[in-house]
């Protein structure tokens, strides 16, 4: 089980450089409760401009898995031809599951395939829902006892919109009372992280805000994570 409240971090495998990436992973040991390990994609469609650019900057991914629970994150669209490869990589890396943000939005008919592959490779199911989702789907996902359901708070990573996100988290909480809920997209401050947990999230994921700092200075990035972690522990 993931820690409650939990701090999650989105990493893009091998970014911004092999060296910095390895430093960061090492520095987060004991600080970060779980990881989403992004697979560089030619079309990271749910990402904002910053992470989009990052995807293009990765020349050689580094598949170092942190010690904390880790989930591979990619797009079903990219894996579509041979989805088993993705699950196999996750299993071989020791990841706990594969998160596919476009699965239920663009390929809802592939849910059963996903569950089957997950079972076959001994992984745990994890799901991504956008902020607006069918209630029946949320209940169905909850029933499959996933490690977590990730709710994307906005339309794309790193871009805050005037949306009352706590309300959406609360609604998902009511529909999936026993599921670990992760909230992410544009979580850029300790205060915001705390607000989301108060609204019902079990964990939050920091992506763009962490990567912006990481690009400048590993220590600054780790310090930011520590602040967020403190805010969560203080709750």
């Amino acid at each position: 089980m993931l820690r409650r409240p939990g701090l999650g971090v989105y990493l893009l495998a091998g970014w911004p450089s092999e060296k910095t990436y390895r430093e960061a992973v090492a520095g987060m040991d004991g600080l970060v409760d779980f990881f989403e390990l992004g697979i560089p994609s030619p079309n990271p469609k749910y990402d904002g401009p910053f992470i989009r650019r990052a995807h293009r900057e990765v020349s050689a991914p580094v598949w170092d898995k942190p010690s904390a629970p880790t989930y591979l994150m990619g797009y079903w669209e990219d894996a579509r031809g041979r989805p088993a490869d993705l699950f196999e990589r996750a299993a071989s890396l020791g990841a706990r599951g594969v998160l596919l943000p476009d699965l239920l939005i663009d390929f809802p008919e592939e849910l059963d395939t996903y569950l089957k592959l997950t079972r076959e490779y001994g992984l745990a199911p994890v799901f991504f829902l956008p902020s607006k989702f069918p209630y029946a789907l949320a209940k169905r996902l909850a029933a499959s006892k996933p490690d977590f359901i990730y709710i994307g708070l906005y339309a794309a990573t790193g871009i805050e919109l005037p949306v009352y996100v706590e309300r959406n988290v609360k609604i998902l909480r009511e529909l999936a009372p026993d599921v670990y809920i992760v909230a992410g997209f544009a979580v850029d401050s300790p205060a915001k992280a705390a607000k989301l947990v108060r609204a019902g999230a079990d964990g939050i994921v920091v992506g763009t805000a962490f990567m912006r700092r990481l690009q400048k200075d590993v220590r600054e990035a780790l310090a930011f994570l520590a602040e967020v972690k403190k805010a969560l522990l203080d709750l």
């Binding site: 904002g48 956008p130 871009i159 949306v163 309300r167 959406n168």
Partner: protein, 384 residues
Amino acid sequence: ESRIGLLTRILPSALIDQEFSAERWITVPEEVRDAYRRVGRPTPLLRAEGLERALGTGVRIYYKYEGVLPVGSHKLNTALAQAYYAKADGAVEVATETGAGQWGMAVSLAAALFGLKAVVFMTRSSYNSKRQRLTFMRTYGATVYPSPSEVTEAGRRHYRPDHPGSLGIAISEAVEYVLSGEKRRYLPGSVLEFVLMHQTVIGLEAVRQLPEEPDAAVACVGGGSNFAGFTYPMIGMKLRGEGFDKTRFVAVEAEAAPKLTKGEYKYDFPDAVGILPMIKMYTLGHDYVPPPVHAAGLRYHGAAPSLSLLRKLGIVEPLSYPQEEVMKAAVLFARTEGIVPAPESAHAIRAVLDLAKKLPRGSVIAFNLSGHGLLDSDAYEKFL
């Protein structure tokens, strides 16, 4: 700046929240309800007795009639809501683009009723040929510029006196106009989910008004707002097991822009020039141009994301018809029911004729007549 980020600077903020809200029910603000009442909501649900007699198939046909709204179509439902939220943001001016003028007219009236100034960029070819709607936008107090205009950078880039304009350029102009001044908001008429949601007032009323649950609920699809407005409340009830379990939902599009029947389910721009964020939808490509002879509306290249998903999941069945057949159905409807339908709405009528022949006697059909055609005499003149 990202396309999504741009939205926060041009749209009324409440609309962005609605676009991403997980709420099943979003309350219509008192002021909007009041405006709905004043413009004639609830609109009537009528039985098409004359059409039924003319068909003689023993099928009962009901239709919701949005043409009683002062601008003659359902577009006013979302325009009023959007204008209200713009005002709530402190805006004093709203801007938009329009082609044939239906949306421009709806925004012009909505702005007038909420005490806002409206600025409309109208494609120059329509500006020159659709004088009626242009005149009525001005009657409502709007400032209307032929696009490309000389009032924006985007317009000046394309400006020539004989440029026919395009919706894409007009959108760019409206967005630029909003960004270049204080207290301005942009009001989109197309496929955004909050537009569809505002239109559900149609179906919510219809659910209360229908004396019996239909075997088929039918509406035409341009971008999807009129279809969604009419059917989503019923589809919701069906999916939740609250009723309408035997109802089929039929989305009718023009053969000239057959996205649901022949389009691809993919990410595409909702606008022709790629200013707005891409959305996943059935689309013919954002640069799709319908055949030039086509005069019966529903020219849009894509269908709203939620509608596209419902079609993908088989909950909504798409049909398409060619213009000639649609106008024939329109004329039959005018002669038997008295109302001259908007050519767009006549697509739904055309499908109803087919369904009435195929369904067993005693079946029930309900459709949305999204507007009247009194401002579309050109389409009728061409056909007759």
